[in-house]
Every structure is written in structure tokens, then in C-alpha cells.
Symmetry: D2
């Protein structure tokens, strides 16, 4: 969970509209702060199809407010540039064609300066919107702004994962921020503790009116067999034992698709690990550093997490198990939101009774419910205030460029 | 469910060993009967990576008995040819390297005649094994033979799906069997009936000692919300409405990965459909025939099934819902095993407490539990006796060469 | 140059029409003799896109006579099967669409037996044609038949190169003919002799009325600088020195495209070479045999031939140099037509004044005059009577499945 | 031929060293002038593997002087940054490994500012070198500097072709320079004149001591048949007739590889042409403009040029014919260096007696002599002073991003 310099408690004493407004502009400002040390060049390029350029993230989150908040709800608003709609729509089929994702890194225009102006233009529009409605801001608009805030927070994490993938591809191995250090005070050398839960019917999913994504609901009951969950994440030290045991060479430890991926992509260690003069180093946001053995492992794929659990004689938890344990042991379950997202064995799918919204925003989550796996918790790059026990993150089983680790589970006989 | 000429009730009056022996050789003979009209050439080629040649299926099912039954359990047995181990191992990493799957269709040697001799050699070995042990056949061997029978039955269906893919790729559109007709007496033009089940805890999975694959257990309880399930499969007529409504051109009807697949592969109709002089025809085992509108649709992918359900305002059932309904309404749920496997919305994964076997046979199911979707029921090509209410078939979400259709489900509010 | 059992001197005492007829049916019969030991399965499959199945070669050469001789010139002729036009047209855009080349190996139908009948049907048509016209066979038809004979002879060599590529891909390493041995009596261990020619204007290309392909003409004069040409081919022994000198690992020995190919395809030795227990073996038509060091190297690409010449401090000859030397030293230039086609440094292009024929047969050679390199001479697999000093064979620079070697050249200062 | 603002006649009155020095720094300055309006972002990205980023061009031409001039010949010189060797080596295998070409566009570091400093650092080094040697600059160093000048001039043209490919991929269709207009005063609507040459022995290639690339020599005699050459280039108007005649849909007009390319890449017009509201536009350095019908066609591949010539009943000239005619008719042969490079039918290969230099600079031309075709003349983007009658440019047969057109030739009977 990323330290966020902004003071977030002003809104609690004032009206919900004022609070919303404060949080909105803090979020907008925080994006700029996160990217202020990146040059125009750094912000333009993408190192792989899955990652997007910083500039694109900054423009896309801005377009989101333009498209879904200002255009429909503020008559006086004029679009900054009609072509931006094509450039910065991510995946919303309802609102028209768009620039192909793998080509986002070719957009040297609009320029960095233009995108700064675009952000300012939309921020001004948002100010005007608040002024126009005052404290009578309709609930529907308020919800859209809330969604826009959370959407931008998601992209704040992606800005970091994507710039890391760019810098890792650069032979000069540049750093994002030398003070950005992965889990400084962690000591996981001690034996983990296993938290136990017994067979029962548990509530799963988000209830109440606080903000949450549609995929976190509806709340529903599930019968869950007894299980145990490890109180901390798997460490780099433990992962090194896995490597040294030859695990990346032993097909029977892997899912069939996982083994294919390991061989095809030549994996021998987690993402961003490289051997330098006989020692393991890892490319991080602070540059190329020796692997810190006591820290949680990161940049492992679902395939690797799943194979590690098998090798360890354990298994990954289901997302239900994770959520139940996190509710039951809020203090004893460590590193829940602080280091790396935690792979679960649950394929990403709809909860019983799930209905996506009508229209473009219905595409936000629902259409991705296929062939991806759920991660729970949060990472050190997740923006403060963007963590929840019901939060469902999801990626393809071979993705490694996110801050992704694992927490082991097991059956109780 | 395929008509199987063999009389299967002999064993019921006699000992389990005699019964096993009878079923074994019936199964072996049935494979030969299924393929007797295919030339050596037809049996050698594969039309795509996923499909295997008939000759390979015949040899691989034979190798399975040689490798797992005869070699470890009959001292007098001599392997037919040591190189066959490399040629006909499918995916068992525990037992060594193997010929790559996409190259199976290049194996003009061993020849058709050699493979016939190989089958005979192993059949003789199996006769010797039964003679050697008599009625005292150890339980472990008996279970391996039972697995081999079921394994060969699975390949009997694959022989049919794979030869269809080969013949469909041939400009002469040859037929497998002119009498092989898809669902002759079906009339699905009447309105479907919806079978309802209420919220409760249900038993899921296989219990008892009858043969079943390890992935069907362990039996366990699950809390299932109320739902309804359609008593029949979706028909070609209904699918044509979906096509004519432009569904293959409307991105918002599809999962994100599904829409990518539709565009990339240029899908406009189910697999094997082709437009001839303004009418839809379908390549079948009986050759190229007009699409029979009242019959259940087949050769649709998970992506298409899922999109159809959305278009129809319904959804796919989970595999649990399917199983619960099939148990609750054994007579009212129609076309359960008779026409096409039925896609469910469940990603293929382990049941709670699942433990794969140790060794090579542990690879039978477990290592495929990723990125595939479960199908329930059976198809007209499934060998008689190979259907169960707990049976879990699975394929990737874009697979269309199997006999795969769908049955709609819905929530009850 | 392949030993051809047929006696070819009958025609010399009789009329040209009788001679043509004799050669035609000898050629047709020789194709069958070449393939008589290959099973229907062997004849059906192709191991790579460039190679075609034996059955396809047999049908395509037959279609050539049907399409260009019988259909236009024998009224009573009825096509054997109208769909064969689509199946067995190779690349003639003028006469319509055709089955894609990489899918030829999927044509299990028409069957082996059907193709035998097809050959017989067309042979009968050709007999009828000769009977119909008698000794008055028009010159135009006679020329088409002559082209058909030469066309079928080309495919006779391809049948051998293509079956070798199939058998080499088979883990059982089957053999085509155990007596088929590569250059039995060759001894190239002695030092080569260099044949010299001085700067002059030379005639290049085919003159006169004997059969030749259009690409061999028109005859024209060319000014050629003095040069020397080696009297024998490069041997396997010499190639092994090239390998042992690390040549496959040294980028500066290679053309840029060649080095890319070496790295991408992982080449470390000529095609079909494999290391068995520390010794080099080579897959041949006689099966897997130890590399015969004194024999000419074969199965090397243009890239390899060009790199070898650079490594040896020599160069490849131009096709003009080759032709001039072969005319000047018919007896001193050895292994001209007996072992392997010889790469030249000449890109395949039109001679000055070249005009392809109008219509489909104009596609025979002209449209391939781009990005391929000329080979001169002939190989041990070339049908007897199919060699000429003006013959221009051509393949892409990375092709290795043909019987291709090299002969060195050098400048004279 | 690009207008070059710099006055180039100073050196003629002074020593060759002074002249070299003047031309060197003019060339260096001209690169900066060409790129001064491009932002850091524009300079960082590549739109396709074949094209390089502006920043990379600027750094690579600088590295060329550092690597081949300063490092070996100026003891006091210190490399700017040791890692730049890896980043900015283009293809010189002799001097070590290098950053892969398709990843040049990911190099956001070194930054634009760093590259400016790098250029300054090397320019300073070059000043020091001149000061160190004074008028006694050794011939060897002088030749290396001359090569470096010409090398940088080549990259000046590539900067323009590559930035055009980037801007053409941008949905905003930005322009490089609004005053940059393609062939403003051209009027090719009149009938072309055919220049004739008779059969003779002609001199080909560069003689004398003036700068030229090694591939332009050695000078040698060639016997050339009589031919005619068109005095002007093919126009957009003529190309439109080719399009409107359906040429892009008629397979028999094309080389086999060309037709494959047309279908695979979906070509329907020259590169950068697009239909807007029923009219043809073309993306140019001045932005998206209506196609100027009377101007020479540009951005056509070898495949298209060759097909056009066939369609027109003519042919492409050989490079020898082009050179002979350009020498014979220096005034009557129009548009020789002013608009577009002109495809010839000659595959790029070594002249008789060609020997590449020893060492890295021997890689400059020789290793590309395979599967490319020679273009003669120059384009409007070629730097002034970089044109010669013996100049041999070369590209692959499907390349279209260069300024490439054609001039027709024909036989004289």
C-alpha cells in the first residue's frame, strides 16, 4: 500500500459532496505527483502489449471523466479534442472504436504538454460541475465521480507496474525513485503461523453502500469446508529453495499450460530476477538491487504460484477462503495489503446473481470474467484507500509484470 | 450417446473379473468396429494440432494398457516395439519424452498394419494376464484395467470428432458413415420448460465405489442459490435467430476474449456450418447436410454459448446447478446425454479435498485444471456406458471441434 | 543423376511422334516405379509446407496432362473428376483457385486407389490422343506433351526429396530404399584442380529446337571476366572442417540474412545431419547412415554455401561462369550432374529479351524470378535425360531439403 | 534531393583538410536542423521494426565517429558512456553485441538531453582531432571521416522516412513540416520520351578517388543489349489507372511472392495512400494531402513496381541500363535525383572483383548482398551532395516506407 501524502480526513467533518470533491482533486493531483519525475519520453513508450505508457494512463483517466461525467452531465462542457476519444478509450465497445492497445506506445502526439493541458481542461470542467450543482449534486453523478476516482487509483498502480516493465527492458536499467524500496522492514525468516477456520456457511462479497466495484457483489452465502491459511506471504528465500530444488526443470510440478509457458518463455526465476556475477538481483522501482531474501516474493505468475504450492505440499486458497480468513483474523493475517497481490485458485467469474450495469460502464468488469485468476489483498504500489477485504483483482495466468505473490493454504482433515 | 452393438449384461450374472474381461474386449473390439471403414490414409492424418489421427488413437489406447497394466504386472510380457513408447505416449511426463502432438499426423510409420499387429499383441498380453491371475485378479490391476476401458471409450469419441475435423477440411467433403445422422427424431420446436430448484445445501460429486475419474470427487456439500434450468438444449433454429440478429457482429454481446476470437478467426456461425447457395449446410459424420433446424446446436465454443445466453437474457448454468438438476429431475431433464455436451460457466478446477494420484496416472486429470471450462452430459458420439451425472468433461473456451452445445439457466428472484 | 531402367534409344530409329509417345509412357511408368514401395500412408503426408505428398505429385503431374493436353485437344476426353482440378492445380492462377499448398498433406481423399485410377484414366486419354492424331500430331500438342514429360521428371526428383523430408521427421527413421546409396564410388580426398577461363564474350543460354524451359533463353552474349572454377564439389570432409572451425558460431562469416537464419533455426550442420554417440550421421534415402566424408556435401542452403566459400577464401560462381566452364571443359569438370545441384551467386532473373508464354503456361517459370538463387548441374535424384548445361534450377536461400551442394570459384588477378 | 541551406563551396579554395572539416560540421549541424522541430517524444519512438527513432539515428551516427574515428585515433578521447556502445551499434558484428533493432523505440534512456550532450561531446572530440593533427591529418583518418559524413547523410534521409512512418501511424496524422511539399512544380502530364541506347560494351561502376561506397566498384566492363529508358518517372496519375484497372486484384500481373504479399498485407494502393470521402489522400511530411496526380508515384514496393511495368507492357531497367543511360543522357534523363529512388530489376550483389574491407567497416555493404533489389538515383529526401550516377541503394522487395518509385524501360527489337 503506497504512502499517500494527502490528508484524507477533511471530508469527514463536512458534507459528502465536499468530501467527494476533495478526494477527487487529491486523486487527480496524486497521479501528477507519481509521474512528475518521468520525462516526456519515459511517459510515451510501452515495453509490451499489456503495459500502457504513463502519458496514456494520464490521458485515459482524464477521458474517463470527460466521457462519463462531463459530456453527459455538464452542458457547458466542450470536449478538449474530438480525436482524443479515439486515442484514449481503453476498451469500451459501447462508445466506439479506439486505438489498438499494442500501439499506444506510438502516440508521440498528443504531446506531453497537450496531455497536461487536457488534464487541466477536464479538471476545470470538474470544478465547474461542482460549482454548477453545489451541494445538490445528484446521486448518479456522485457515483460516477466516485467510480472515476477509484478508476484513476487503479491506473496509479498500473503506472508503476508499467514503468517498471519499461525500465527493466532498458539496458541502462534506470530507476524510478531511489527511495522506493520494497518492504524495507520485513522479516519473514521466522516460521509462519497457520490460521484455521472450520466448516460453515460464510458471507462472501460486499454489502452496504460504500463504494465497491460491481464484481464484488452481490453479497451471498457460501458453504466452505474447514481450511487453514498461512499468516504471511511466501518469501524470496523460500522461492530460492524452490529454484534450487530444480523446480523450473521438473514438468510434473506444473500445470500442463504452466509447463508449456515455462519452456516457451524460458523462465528460470520470478520476473525481473537476473543473475549478476553469481548472485540474484531484481529490477525494482529503485533500480537493479540484490534480491532481499526475507521479503515476500513478487512478480510470480499464477502458474508459478500454483507450482510452488504443490512443491510445498500445500495449495493456493480459493478467493472465498482468503476473504473469510481476512475477515476472521483482521490482525493475525499479515501482509494482507502491504506487499504483493496474492494469487488465489479461483477463476474470475460472476458471483451468484451478478448483473453488470447497462451501457458502457457495464463493460468495466463483467466482460473479463473468463480465463483469468483472482488475486486478493493489495500491493505496496496500491494507492492508499484503494484496499478492501472484498476487492477482486484479476490477471491472466501467465502475467508477471504486476506485483504478484502468494500466501499458502491447506486442508484440515 | 452412441449405439453400441455389444451386449453388456453378461457380466452381471457372473464374477466381477469375468465381467471386466468381457467389457475390456468389447471395448477393444468396438474401437476397431468404429474405424473399420476408414482407410489407412484416413487414419494417419490430423487436420489440426488439437485433433489426433485415428491410427494414433488406436495405438495410444493400446500403449496405455501396455505401459500401465502389462509392463508392471505381467512378467512374461515383452513390449511390441520400444520406440512406440516415444510415439504413443500422449502427455505423461512421469514416463518420459514423447512425440510432439502437432506432429502426430506425420507418423506414416508405424504403418496401419503394424498398429493392427500392436493391438493384437497387447490384446494377447491382456488375455495372458487374465489367464495368469484368474479370478484372483488383484484389485489394483482390476482398477487399472477399468481405467484403461474408460480411457479407450474417451478416445472412441475423439476418433469421431477428429475424423470429422479431417473430413471437413477436405474439399471433397467425404463422409464417415452415411447412416450416421444427427438426432433424427428430435423436435424442439415447442417451447422449453424451466425446471426449478430452491436454495439449499446439495451433495455434489461422485460417491461410492463404481468407476469414476478422480476429478469427479470427493463428494462434498455446496450451498446453491435457487435457479431454473431449461429442460432441453438450444436448437439450430434458435441459433439462426442469434445469427440473423447480427450477434456475431455486436461486440457488446461477447466476453472480451470471445470478441477477440470471433474477429481473429472470422467466425460467423457454428463450426462446420457453411453457406451453400443461400442456405446453411453443416459438415457432419454423414457428410455435408442441410442444417436441421429443430435439432440441438452443436460445435459451438464456450465463447459462443456464453454470448448466446447473454443475448437470450439468460445465463449458462454452473456445473453444480447442472448436476443438482440432473439428479432432481432425471426424467424431465431431456437430451442430457443424447446430443451434445453442454457448456457450463464453471472453470475446470479441483473439488475441495481433491488429491491426484501419485505417479503418472495422477496426470490424467489434475494438470489440466486451468483455463478450461466444464461441460456436462454427453453427446451422440459418447460411447454407451460412458455417461454419468457426475462426469466432468473440459475444453478450452475456443474449442469447437467437439460435439458441444448448451442448455440455458436463469436466476429465480 | 538417377539410373533409369528404361531403354531410351528406340525412338531414334523411328518417327518423332513414336519417340515422343515412347518417352511419355516411360516417364509415366517411371513415376509409378519410383513410388511402388511407398504405402498409401507414406504417399499421403507432407512433412513441411514446401514439400508435397507423393500421392499429390502423382496426381498433379496427371492433372497437368489433363488440363493442358487432353481437355483442350481431345474432344472425346471426359475429366475424371471435376473436383480434382481444385485439388491438384499447383500454382496456375490462370486456371482458377486451388487447394492451399500447406494443406496438401490433409488430402486423404481422393484415396491412393482413386489416384491410381486417375493416372490410368489420363494415360488412356493420352493413348487415345495419339491414336486420334497418329503421325500427324500437331506441333503444338507435341510441345505440350514434351513439356508434360519434363514437368513429370521434375516432380520425380521432388518425390524423392519430399519423401526424405517426411522420413527424416519420423522418430523411427524409416528408409526409402536400402540400396539407394549416395555416391558410392566417390573419392574426393585428393586436391581439387582449378579450371581457368579468360576474359571474353561468351554465349549464354539455350539455342536450337531441342526441348528446354523458357527461362533458359533467349541465347545471348555476355562479357565475362577471367575466373577459375573448381573441378569437383565441396566434400563432407571439407564441410566438417568448416563446422569444427566454429563457422556456425561466427557471425562475420555470414550474410546478414544468413546469420539471422542460422540463429533462428539453430543450424549447426547441414540438413539431415545428426550427432549420434559423438559421430555425425545423415538421414538419407537409405536411412540413417554415417556421414561419408569423401562424398560431396548435400542439403546445404545458399546461406551456408555462400558462408563456406567466404571461409575458404573463395566465392560461389555466377551461373554464367558455371555454364561457360561446363561448356569449355565438358570432361574435366567433374560431378556436374551426378551428385548435388550447385548453388551459384546468381539471383534468379530473366535473361535479356525473355518473354514468358501467354496464358497459364507462362506461369511455369517467370513468376518465380524474385528472391531465389540459381543452381546449376543436377543431383543423383535427377531423372536421367533431364540434365542440360543451360538448365536453371532455383530455390530460396534458406532451402535445405533438396540435394544441394556447391562448387567453388575464384578470381584470377 | 533535399535543399541544404549550408554553403558548401568554402572548402574548394582551401586545403582538403579544411574542406573536410567544414563539410563534417555542416553535416553534423544539418542533422540537428532536420530534427529541431521534433519533440523528445517524437524522437524516441519507432513505428515498425525497419524504422529507427530519430534520437537513435542522432546517437548512432555519433557513435560511428566515436567508434571508428576517435577511439582508435585520438588518445586523449574518453568515451562519453561505455553503455552507449551497446545501445547505438547498428549491425557491426565485429565490434560486439548490440541492442535488438525492434527494441530501439523503447530506449527512453539515454534521454534526449543526454543524446544532445553526446553529440556535443563527440563533436568536441572531432574538433580536438583536427586540432591535434592539423593539416597533416593522415589519409586513413580522413577517409574514415569522409565515410562518417556520408554515413550521417544516409541517416538524414532515414530520419525523414522513419518519422513519416511514425506520423502516418498516428491517428492525429501530424505533420513534420507544412512547407515540405512533394515535387511542387512537377508536370508529368505530357507524354514521356524514350531514350535509346544500342548494344555495346559499357563501363559500369565508380572510378577515380572521389568518395564512393565500396559496393560501387570496382569499375568493370559489361556487354549491354540495346534498350530504351523512359525520360521521366511513372506518375500518380498513371498509377491510379493501374489501380482502377483492378491490378491489385489480378494475380497474373504479379510475381508469385508479390501476389502473396499483396494478399497478406491487403495492399490496394501505394504506401500512405488512404481514401477519404471518395478521394485519394496521401500521408506526407507535410501531413495528409490530396494525391497530386502529376507528381511521380512514391512509396511503391519492388513487387508493385515490377507488376506495374508488366501491366504497362514494359519492364524495369537493370541497374546497368540505368547507369549507362544516366551517363549518356545527363540532361535528357529527368527526375534522376529529385523525387524518388527508382527500382531496378537487379538483385543487389557484388560487382566482379568486389572485396569488402577487412574488419567492421567491411560489414557496411557486403553482408546485405542477398534478397534485396537495387534502386538508383535519389529522392527529394536525399541530402544534397549525396547523389551519384554510380550510387547503389537497396531494399527488400516488399519495403514501401522509403521514397521509392520507378522509371520504365523496354527492349529495342
Amino acid at each position: 500500500m503506497l504512502a499517500n501524502d494527502f490528508n484524507d480526513n477533511v471530508g469527514q467533518r463536512s458534507s459528502p459532496v465536499r468530501s467527494l470533491r476533495t478526494r477527487l482533486f487529491k486523486t487527480r493531483a496524486y497521479t501528477e505527483k507519481l509521474t512528475e519525475h518521468l520525462s516526456a519520453e519515459d511517459q510515451t513508450v510501452q515495453a509490451m502489449d499489456d503495459a500502457s505508457p504513463t502519458k496514456w494512463h494520464r490521458a485515459h483517466t482524464t477521458w474517463f471523466f470527460e466521457e462519463f461525467v462531463l459530456e453527459p452531465h455538464l452542458k457547458s462542457y466542450k470536449r478538449f479534442n474530438d480525436r482524443f476519444h479515439y486515442c484514449f478509450n481503453s476498451y469500451y465497445e459501447h462508445v466506439g472504436p479506439r486505438h489498438p492497445r499494442p500501439l499506444r506506445g506510438l502516440l508521440t502526439r498528443p504531446s506531453f504538454e497537450e496531455v497536461c493541458k487536457y488534464r487541466l481542461h477536464v479538471d476545470t470542467g470538474l470544478v465547474n460541475l461542482f460549482n454548477h450543482y453545489g451541494l445538490n449534486l445528484p446521486q448518479g453523478i456522485s457515483e460516477l465521480i466516485e467510480l472515476g476516482i477509484n478508476h484513476e487509483q487503479q491506473h496509479q498502480e498500473l503506472i508503476l507496474t508499467d514503468i517498471l516493465s519499461l525500465f527493466a527492458s532498458n539496458p541502462l536499467r534506470p530507476l524510478y525513485n531511489k527511495d522506493y524500496f520494497l518492504g524495507l522492514e520485513i522479516d519473514n525468516r521466522c516460521e509462519p503461523e497457520w490460521l484455521k477456520l472450520s466448516t460453515d456457511i460464510y458471507k462472501i462479497g460486499h454489502a452496504g453502500n460504500n463504494f465497491h466495484y460491481d464484481n464484488e457483489g452481490p453479497e451471498h452465502a457460501a458453504l466452505i469446508q474447514s481450511f487453514k491459511l498461512c499468516d504471511r506471504l511466501v518469501t524470496n528465500f523460500e522461492w530460492l529453495e524452490f529454484i534450487n530444488d530444480g523446480a523450473y526443470k521438473i514438468p510434473t510440478l506444473w500445470l500442463s499450460d504452466g509447463w508449456y509457458t515455462v519452456r516457451t518463455l524460458g523462465w528460470e526465476a520470478p520476473g525481473y530476477w537476473e543473475m549478476v556475477d553469481g548472485s540474484w538481483y531484481q529490477m525494482t522501482l529503485a533500480g537493479l538491487c540484490p534480491v532481499r531474501m526475507e521479503a515476500p516474493v513478487s512478480h510470480v505468475s499464477y502458474f508459478e504460484a500454483e507450482a510452488f504450492a504443490r512443491w510445498a505440499g500445500k495449495r493456493l486458497p480459493t478467493e472465498y477462503e482468503w476473504e473469510v480468513a481476512a475477515r476472521a483474523y483482521p490482525h493475525k493475517l499479515k501482509q494482507t495489503y502491504s506487499h504483493a497481490w496474492q494469487w488465489t485458485s479461483s477463476s474470475y467469474s460472476a458471483y451468484p446473481g451478478y448483473k453488470p450495469k447497462v451501457g458502457a460502464l457495464g463493460e468495466y468488469n463483467g466482460k473479463f470474467m473468463c480465463n483469468q485468476y483472482v488475486l486478493r489483498g493489495a500491493s505496496h504500489a496500491t494507492t492508499s484507500g484503494h484496499c478492501r477485504v472484498t476487492y477482486r483483482n484479476f490477471f491472466y495466468s501467465k502475467a508477471r509484470w504486476q506485483f504478484t505473490g502468494l500466501r499458502l493454504a491447506g486442508d484440515i482433515k
